[in-house]
Amino acid sequence: MIQLEHLTKEYNGVRAVNDLTADIPDGEIFGLLGPNGAGKSTTILMLVGLIEPTAGNCRVNGLDVARDPVNVKQQIGYMPEDVGFYATMSAEENLRYFGRLYGMDFPAIAKRSSELLSLVGLDGVTKDVGGYSKGMRQRLGLAKALLNDPAVIILDEPTANLDPQGVADYRRIIRDVAREGKTVVVSSHILEEVSKVSTSVGILSAGKLVAQGSWKDLAREISLTSTSHVTIIIETKDPMPEFRHPDIISIDYERDRCGAVVLARSDIRDEIAFHLAENNICLRGLSREGLSLEETFLSYYHIAG
């Protein structure tokens, strides 16, 4: 559905996006992650056709964004991070204007606007958008992004100004939209937010895509290659005897010594199991703690750095 090929953007000789290549299949909720200045917004602006790439290209449904911007935009619904509407117009008037630009007729716009304003919780709000809070604008931004029933929805920091109810509504709407087979790209620096809705992620660092895949795949990959510390959880039926190993940094025993958390320089689960068996201790559980989202993200970020 979305293909980015060697996408590069330079501002005054500085590369904001550097040779970015990625493939986002149909029906995916793709999270574009990265720290500030990683090139997420620049990538999205090129994808939406608001800025021209210095090199490379973006394709949506096989159409080149730079060569066929109008047809590409017809298939895209976009919500920028700083959502701006016409302040002297109501939500409905704003949607009517944008609907006309999509080529929708007035009855279709009226029907769709009514549905969407209800969906984002803005039905019955008649005041001008100038009087909206940031959160209300963001809700309206989501409604605007869905106005033309697009095949691709691109959202830049979509929950930045939303209250908890708004965030929950947003997640529900995005999941429903993806179930309809639409492709959603969500750019954010809030890991938890991306992890809760996205089915796959791409991690950007200094304009480069340093990882792409599902969270599980990325975490597994990191855990296999990581040289950082390992946390091991032990559960036993009987109290554990003392255990020593050169790779152990620390062991925190539970009060009854039937459980412990081991921080080690390597995965020493085999040695632990052997030691417990030697001492006739019945082992109930021996697991390595998975990497958190943050650890996974930071690992990729540090690898790239």
Partner: protein
């Protein structure tokens, strides 16, 4: 969706934004007031001139009548309207254009707008079209009120006068559109509306005050030098002629060297033609001066004001730089053609610059 439909959608929104905006309504209100005040003043003056003309008419067969004045033109009524329009119209054009793009940059609505299936030229053309429609509407109202005022005072223009009134409306529109185009250009260049407004006002002052100042006497003398001095030989001859009490003044020409006088006259003529050409060239760069030249030609039937020139040594005379005689209506267009072309080119150039800038704008 057809390109034309998107263009019309944008233009329609811009048009209604303009005519609903407080700044437009306020300046338009001021424009109407000054236009009506100017018209009433113009009509009063016109009626006086007509009365004077009619008195001369009644004396046409009298042996005391030595000359027959021209019948005053109805268009003279518009001369004071033109004076007000230069400033109020300029301000209206600036007010309508200075934030057309910069406001959308500030409010971030430009990002949303351009993410829709529209070409950028449709957006900038739609904005210009909406502005043009609002300006044209405002001027149409002014002209209708002007026409109604004429009728109320019992003044009925003939067909040629109606054409000139329409031309007056057209050039007034071009003047306002010139400043609208400058403001639109600055709006595409600047990220903030405040900066766009300040720079547009600076350009407005340069074009409506500084350029006319450059074209004035002092600066012209500085650039191309003073008028040729009257040769000492001629001054002596003139003084001798003035001192001789027994001779009457009609014999002046017989006392001076006519060859030297003619040569001096030619040098003065060449000097003033050069000065006028330079002044006219300066004027072409100022929409205000072009507008003044055109409206003067339309409202008074003259291509430029008569100049009275002092040639020093206490001798004064009037000197015709170019034709200052009343010009036939058909000739007016010939006289104002350079100014008219400049007044058309000016907004076209600035709109072209705004267009190019907008097409290359990085929306971040």
């Amino acid at each position: 969706m057809m390109t034309g439909n998107r263009l019309i959608t944008i233009a329609r929104k811009e048009f209604f934004d303009h005519i609903r905006s407080r700044k437009f309504l306020l300046i338009f209100g001021i424009l109407l007031i000054v236009a009506v005040v100017g018209l009433i003043g113009g009509v009063t003056e016109y009626n006086k001139e007509i009365k004077s003309y009619n008195e001369h008419q009644s004396m046409v067969n009298s042996p005391l009548s030595s000359y027959m004045p021209e019948k005053p033109s109805i268009l003279s009524v518009f001369s004071s309207v033109a004076t007000y329009l230069i400033f109020v119209g300029g301000i209206l054009g600036i007010a309508m254009g200075f934030d057309l793009v910069s406001k959308e940059k500030e409010s971030k609505s430009l990002k949303i707008l351009l993410s829709h299936p529209v070409y950028r030229d449709e957006v900038i053309n739609g904005k210009a079209l909406g502005g043009i429609a609002a300006l044209a509407g405002a001027l149409a109202v002014v002209l209708v009120i002007a026409f109604a005022t004429l009728l109320i005072y019992g003044i009925v223009p003939d067909s040629s006068e109606l054409i000139l009134i329409a031309v007056f409306g057209g050039v007034s529109f071009l003047l306002i559109f010139s400043y609208f185009a400058i403001a639109l250009f600055m709006s595409t260049v600047m990220d903030e509306s405040g900066s766009a407004l300040i720079y547009t006002i600076i350009i407005f002052i340069v074009l409506s005050v500084l350029v006319p100042t450059l074209a004035n006497d002092t600066v012209m003398e500085y650039i191309i030098g003073s008028q040729p001095e009257l040769p000492q030989e001629l001054i002596d001859q003139m003084q001798r002629s003035a001192n001789s009490t027994e001779e009457n003044t009609f014999s002046f020409s017989s006392k001076v060297n006519t060859g030297a006088w003619d040569a001096y006259n030619e040098r003065v003529q060449a000097y003033w033609e050069k000065r006028q050409a330079m002044g006219d060239t300066f004027a072409l760069f100022s929409p205000t001066m072009n507008y003044e030249a055109i409206t003067m030609a339309i409202t008074s039937g003259r291509s430029r004001p008569m100049q009275v020139i002092s040639i020093g040594n206490g001798v004064a005379t009037s000197f015709a730089v170019a034709s200052v005689d009343d010009v036939a209506v058909g000739d007016i267009f010939g006289n104002i053609a350079p100014n008219l072309i400049a007044l058309i080119l000016f907004p076209a150039v600035f709109f072209g610059l705004a267009y190019v800038r907008f097409m290359r704008l990085d929306v971040r």
